[in-house]
């Protein structure tokens, strides 16, 4: 973030006099420009967060007024609700499988395309396309069919339908996420292109091999972008909904193995009308994502290297 720059010293007294009233007016003008965002931030973000915190301590079904129950939603969630824990396990397993696989593939493809002379633009666009299509219901339905009994995977490997096997169903959802590696790949590629070529030339002169160059130049120079992708994809993975809904026909099965957190939250809040319970779940999710992000930021100090600190 840059701090607002002071205008250069006013060249003449009249000029300063002319400039002053607009500046005061600009403060007012700024709030006019900001007003939709301020309204949205207050009414659709801050107020709802406060309300959902309150509701998380109540029993509320949308029709009768909320009934204060203290910490009961939370204690029930953590100690009496096995489905809640299954949803936590499913979500964490999915995040831990899907995000590293997706980012690794994105990085490999970006490295392969980096020095390509012809066809780079084509491959970049073609690999990116699934990122736009993958979130749609259409593709989720295709996925369900391909991984179903008698689907492509069953025919190729004789594994039966993954959709009906606990563990495998989750992997099918994870593969749909991996399929959308194009978005982080495009970001990696842009980052790779910003690494100055002289660094590699110098390393070559010093006799560094490919692998050495990758470890000593590419990884540190790319680390801010790796970090950005890691945070973004992790946060997104925690919130995945459509594919799990489609693959499990909205139920999170088999045996709750694809009962993602958001799916269970939807089920509690909007199917079973336990809005208080769902609010408590939402707050736990918020805190968990906050903690995970904070941990990522904390560890980033030891492995993310910002070139601009030194030489800009």
């Amino acid at each position: 973030m840059t701090t607002a720059q002071m205008p250069k010293a006013a060249p003449a007294p009249e000029a300063a006099a002319v400039r002053k009233p607009p500046r005061r007016r600009r403060e007012g003008a700024a709030w006019v420009f900001l007003s939709p965002w301020v309204l949205g931030a207050c009414v659709l973000t801050l107020l709802p967060m406060a309300v959902s915190l309150y509701l998380s301590f109540t029993d509320y079904d949308l029709f009768n007024s909320p009934n204060w129950v203290g910490l009961r939603n939370y204690t029930q969630m953590f100690t009496e609700d096995p489905r809640y824990w299954r949803s936590v396990v499913a979500t964490l397993t999915y995040v831990v499988i899907a995000v590293p696989l997706q980012l690794a593939l994105a990085l490999i493809v970006a490295l392969a395309l980096k020095n390509m002379k012809r066809g780079k633009g084509f491959y970049r666009s073609a690999f990116y396309a699934p990122s736009l299509l993958g979130a749609s219901m259409s593709i989720a339905l295709v996925w369900r069919a391909i991984f179903n009994d008698g689907g492509t995977i069953d025919n190729l490997f004789g594994t039966g339908g993954w959709v009906f096997k606990p563990g495998w169903a989750l992997l099918a959802v994870a593969l749909l996420t991996v399929w959308q590696f194009g978005a982080p790949m495009v970001i990696f590629l842009a980052g790779l292109q910003q690494i100055p070529g002289e660094l590699y030339e110098a390393a070559e002169v010093d006799g560094a091999g490919r692998w050495r160059q990758f470890l000593s130049i590419t990884v540190p120079m790319l680390s801010p972008v790796i970090f950005f992708n890691l945070v973004l994809q992790t946060i997104q993975a925690f919130q995945v909904f459509t594919p799990a809904f489609a693959i499990s026909a909205g139920k999170g099965g088999p045996a709750d193995s694809t009962l993602f957190y958001t799916l269970y939250l939807y089920d509690r809040g909007f199917v079973a009308s336990h809005m208080g319970y769902a609010s408590a779940m939402a707050w736990v999710l918020l805190i968990v994502i906050g903690v995970v992000t904070a941990v990522l930021f904390r560890t980033s100090r030891s492995w993310v290297f910002y070139a601009s600190e030194g030489d800009r």
Binding site: M1, T2, A30, A41, L44, A112, S131, L141, A249
Partner: protein, 290 residues
């Protein structure tokens, strides 16, 4: 471009081979990746008996009537109507996001006001805020306002710049514009409103187009919000109509179901083909300048 002329043929050969192998690898990966799309297109044209019996990807004969069945829609609501509903929501979201996000972005990028730093940090933080944390109270608010089962909950938030990602995107773009232009406009007597409208906005067009396309595609693909807020079939979107196939267990409806899926994907594919440069560049820049 060719390799340097000084290298001997013996050295050049492996380079050419490596390049060929790279292309072969990329093409193979591309084929695997495009398989689900090919499968979708093929299945949408398969007759019902071939869906299960035949393992071939390509249909034995083309069953165009799948598309005729699909066009009739779901629950007596035609695909034309569903498409119109989807377009209405996506269109409203695009107008809302472009307007509200560019206004807020201009203030953050160019104007000075109290608490600018903290407010900017807050705006960035809301990019990472999980939607579910605000979902239930938002639903309660819209329920109190009598707006559930209308399109307002899907469109109104976009007019209030709630998608901070786009504010950030436009801020980054505006910061790259030369300040001299506005200085000149100011000397010519333009206030902040006119210099926004006449100087900054036209120059910001690439970022606005990126915002518009991403908003369109994300809104088009959105399922969760629509699932919660819309329940009358005549208000359904294509996505919600497709959802009713999710529970269907028989494969006999496969042809029409995937014909409808193709129709639902078509706008995104067209947008992608028309604007891929903006999409890819927009995505690339989101990570670099941050």
């Amino acid at each position: 471009m060719t390799t340097t002329t000084t290298s001997t043929p013996a050295v050049r050969m492996p380079v050419a081979w490596a390049r060929a192998a790279l292309h072969a690898g990329c093409l193979a990966a591309l084929l695997v990746m495009l398989y689900p799309l090919a499968w979708l297109l093929a299945t949408s044209l398969k007759p019902a008996d071939e869906v299960i019996a035949s393992l071939d990807l390509l249909p034995g004969r083309l069953e165009w009537s799948n598309y005729e069945t699909a066009l009739e829609g779901v629950n007596d609501i035609s695909v034309g109507r569903l498409l119109g509903n989807s377009l209405l929501i996506a269109g409203g979201a695009v107008v809302g996001n472009v307007l509200s996000c560019s206004l807020a972005a201009y203030a953050f990028a160019r104007l000075r006001f109290r608490f600018r730093g903290p407010l900017f940090a807050f705006m960035i933080a809301t990019i990472m805020l999980p939607h579910h944390a605000v979902l239930i109270p938002q639903y309660i608010i819209f329920n109190q306002l009598g707006m559930v089962n209308t399109y307002w909950p899907l469109i109104l938030p976009k007019f209030l710049a709630t998608e901070a990602f786009f504010v950030f995107l436009i801020v980054q773009f505006m910061r790259g514009l030369p300040r001299e232009l506005e200085e000149a406009a100011r000397i010519d007597g333009c206030g902040p409103f006119r210099s926004f409208l006449l100087v900054i906005l036209p120059l910001t067009r690439p970022a606005l187009i990126t915002t518009a396309i991403f908003t369109f595609i994300w809104t088009w693909n959105d399922f969760f919000t629509q699932l919660i807020y819309l329940f009358s079939p005549e208000k359904f979107t294509l996505t919600l109509a497709l959802r009713s196939f999710v529970d269907a267990s028989s494969t006999s409806a496969f042809g029409p179901m995937f014909a409808m899926s193709v129709i639902a994907l078509l706008p995104i594919v067209l947008f992608f083909l028309a604007f891929q440069r903006f999409l890819v560049e927009g995505m690339a820049n989101s990570g670099i300048k941050g």
